[in-house]
Symmetry: C2
Subunit: 351 residues, 2 copies
């Protein structure tokens, strides 16, 4: 493997000094880029992009050609695992993901197949290998998956939901069955992320998009506990380097102390909590990633620069901050506004 | 005025000992009740119910006939003020509220009329008076309004939104204009709640449904500060009794210390934070209202009883707890499940 030319992101994840605060952006390869929209139109669908390693590689690299980002992230979806389990993932523009065959009975949960990510999701590993080669050591590559709880919400509801009433009913009324499902998913996610690491992912992130929908105790028992189980089972060293793991439970900043106990290297933080406070909650035991409101990217350069400065100041001095948004970049952001953000992070955080 | 027969709710709001934990439920008068659906079908629309004092009174009393609730809440909407300002409030079933004429320019913000709640929202005061008479001192009556920030989000976007990008752009890019709008709304809400108090509301609650969409600093500057301004301007004593004020910012439990500084008597808490922790954050300076996940009401009596017990135990001993959900009851709840909850709260919290 080629030597890594920019290890700022990895150093920050290890809470080591860096010459600037590294920055990457959730959904940095995505619809706000005209070159992405063009390729997606040609491919015909989002899943056609995901499942074609050549196209997934191209899309992953697009934002890196425009902006001085400190990491690349695999272009894929958080729901590939249930798709590989046979639920039939679909994307309807403007509607978000849905499953053709959501889980509707205990029997369907018990009969979920065990997947082998190398055999069942070969396009993902092929994309990871291709991207690593194409990156040629420019920046590290992040692999990822949805969290067991977040996968379960979509698998049970069949699509996005405002209340997640069905998924919650499972954990409230049939906790043993919920644990069975979540354990099965945690094993699959562990295998999946390890396969990504073996294929070349240098960092992995678990997206727990719907952790914040749970009551406090159920978050710990039905979401965090399974992310911890994954962390325990991950390959933590590869190519002679630590493979850091980032947990991102949206809307769960007040749980940061428990998140830091999981053994993760870093946690994502959304914009509702000041980074000063987030840092105090986890007592500087882990690195923190975040946390600018994505809506700020819809304003203007002056405002963006002001909020970048504010976010850096909120984290304060010392290592361990990775700049990011508190959620994915939205499709209506003018690309030059992201350029302004990335440049401002580098400018303000350098010496 | 008739003497109040059940002052448990008022005593708990004042952090005084009570013989049981009082309970009321957000949206307790609503679509989950068949007798409500019947009346709404007859009236033709939600707003037809709100604007008819006789029907609003009847709907307010419906849940009290079924359940041993410790408070009544005026049947109305959080968006009556912008409607009175001329924006044209509409409800389309399943779509939530929308405005015919959302705010689209600085000029429209500057030209917003000053309303006189007695003249411009007479149906609300008439309903309050009618309900007080009909209650005949059975339980206290809660009046309410949306918070200035929450009103502003709907007034600017025109309807509900996932990202509130327009409303946020105003505070990020034109903070002076945002302050002008929010100040105007805070004055209107103050007058409106004072008119409700004069008409007979014995408690008032400010619903800040979208406070949790804001970054931490903007929550304080653009939402909490204006709720504090309202608290400062409210009639705090009437009929020889304190008129307590409850602030409910959904998704803002980590801000409880700042909320307690506002001068409110109580704060609503959603289910994402344990009441033990919420109580520690506000150092027992105010009463707390909440915080069961509404999804639990979709399960079964055994599960509901278990979670009621858990919620009471999480608050722990000592006064100052008002039992409620962490958000409104959903339309698909079987009414008998709410009965089970109310009875369990009384049973478990009695000496």
């Amino acid at each position: 493997m080629t030597a890594l030319k920019n290890d700022t992101f990895l150093r920050a994840l290890g809470r080591k000094q860096t010459d600037h605060t590294p920055v990457w952006i959730m959904r940095q390869a995505g619809r706000y880029l005209p070159e992405y929209r063009e390729l997606r139109a040609e491919a015909g669908s989002f899943m056609a992009l995901c499942t074609n390693p050549e196209l997934a590689c191209e899309v992953t690299l697009q934002p890196l050609r425009r902006f001085e980002l400190d990491a690349a992230i695999l272009f894929s979806d958080i729901l590939t695992i249930p798709d590989a389990m046979g639920l039939g993932l679909n994307f309807t523009t403007g509607q978000g993901p849905s499953f053709e065959r959501p889980l509707r009975s205990a029997k369907e949960i018990e009969n979920l197949p065990r997947i082998d990510p190398e055999d069942d999701l070969p396009y993902v590993m092929a994309a990871v290998k291709k991207i690593r080669l194409a990156l040629d050591g420019k920046v590290p590559l992040i692999g990822f998956s949805g969290s067991p709880w977040t996968l379960a919400t979509y698998m049970i509801e069949g699509s996005s939901s405002k209340t997640w009433a069905r998924a919650k009913a499972l954990i409230f009324e049939e906790p043993a069955l919920a644990h069975k499902l979540l354990g099965h998913l945690a094993d699959a996610v562990t295998d999946y992320l390890n396969a990504q690491i073996r294929a070349g992912a240098q960092v992995v992130q678990i997206f727990d998009t719907w952790g914040g929908a749970l009551p406090w105790a159920e978050y710990r028992e039905f979401s965090l506990a399974y992310m911890q189980r994954i962390v325990d089972g991950l390959i933590r060293e590869n190519e002679g380097r630590r493979v850091p793991v980032i947990l991102f439970s949206k809307g769960c900043a007040h749980q940061l102390s428990a998140i830091a106990d999981s053994g993760c290297d870093a946690a994502g933080v959304d914009w509702t909590m000041r980074l000063t406070e987030a840092r105090a909650l986890c007592a500087d035991r882990i690195a923190l990633q975040g946390n600018m409101d994505p809506a700020i990217l819809l304003t203007n350069p002056e405002t963006i620069r002001r909020y970048v400065k504010q976010t850096l100041d909120d984290y304060g001095s010392g290592p361990g901050h990775i700049f990011n948004l508190g959620h994915g970049i939205t499709p209506d952001v003018p690309p030059e506004n992201l350029g302004c953000l990335v440049d401002a992070v580098h400018e303000f955080s350098k010496g």
